[in-house]
């Protein structure tokens, strides 16, 4: 059994962990000025919306070339957003998005 890539995994982990840990472990975060704390508070909606948008409009994760907009997936995510806003349930929004995408793919196979 090959173990060569375990070293690669360790190296990949070594460059990933600091991005997860450094801000959490940095001293004095609680003493940041209010404007910085307000910025950090806005990172949540900003980065999650960015993740969602990129995943349905750009795609091509893992460094591969962007593949452009995916109309059905965009529609499904927008429907999920409406449902979450209306029913206050992320789970219900996810279910609606999955049903839209699965039905579309079943009815209109590419």
């Amino acid at each position: 059994m090959s173990l060569d890539l375990v070293l690669l995994a360790l190296l990949m982990g070594a460059v990933t962990y600091p991005s997860r840990a450094v801000p959490l472990l940095a001293p004095g975060v609680e003493r940041l000025p209010p404007i910085a704390l307000e910025y950090l508070r806005l990172v949540g909606p900003g980065v999650l919306a960015a993740l969602a948008a990129v995943n349905v409009v750009v795609v091509g994760t893992g460094g591969s070339a962007p593949t452009g907009p995916h109309p059905v997936e965009i529609l499904a995510v927008l429907a999920a957003v409406v449902v979450v806003r209306w029913r206050h349930s992320v789970f219900l929004g996810i279910v609606v998005a999955v049903v839209i995408v699965a039905l579309t793919r079943a009815l209109l196979p590419t």
Binding site: S19, V47, V58, G63, F91, V98, R105
Partner: protein, 245 residues
Amino acid sequence: MLDALGMTASATAFGLVYGLAARQGGFSIVEMLAMSVFVLAGAAQFAAIGLVTQGVPWAAIVLLTALLNARHLLYSAALAPWLALRGRLPRAAMAHVLTDETFALTLPLFRRLGRADVPGYWLASAFIVPPWIVANLLGYLGGQSIPDPHRLGLDIVFPAAMAGIAVGLIGGRRELVAASVGAIVAVSVGLLAGTALGIVAGGLLGPLAGLLVPGRVAGDAGPGAAGAADRPTEHGDDPAMGLAD
């Protein structure tokens, strides 16, 4: 709880695909698991399979991994004010399981409670990390017999969950602007320079645009809020609250 289960379904579906892809890419089972244990970042792990099989040098793979995972800096920075009064060792351990999904589940939880909930954080990661690793194993050992998650529409779970949780965090104009600008910038940069840069650019510039919205509005709350009641507190990690609700 239901939101967390949705995330579990997503992690499981793509964990199966990752396990299968790793096997097809020539990874041994230990190498495949080492990626999940040490890296614990799906996009980077999928990318690594493709890059390894194409013979890309390790230095380039490590560099790309750092870029792909740079978004964790934003997650960590956003959670840092809530967890600042915790011990360094627990924070160091929590950092390792800080994934997209863990962040998406815990930030709304902290904001809803008005304080950090460390057991809730670990519970959130328990909904993601063990299912991911178990699914990796199942995918590796028997992935050929598993239905295609793409055909079942399960690939939409992740973006739908991220969008839904972002919407749940919007309580005022500043969050709305941060989310809208974040999405627009991410797509624009993503189309030009790749998804990883797009996400980081959107995550950095969206909140900056949100700060330009004057004044605070009702519903804004969190560690940056002016009122003392909104600040994260040192006490009260009640495992009966939060995700278990």
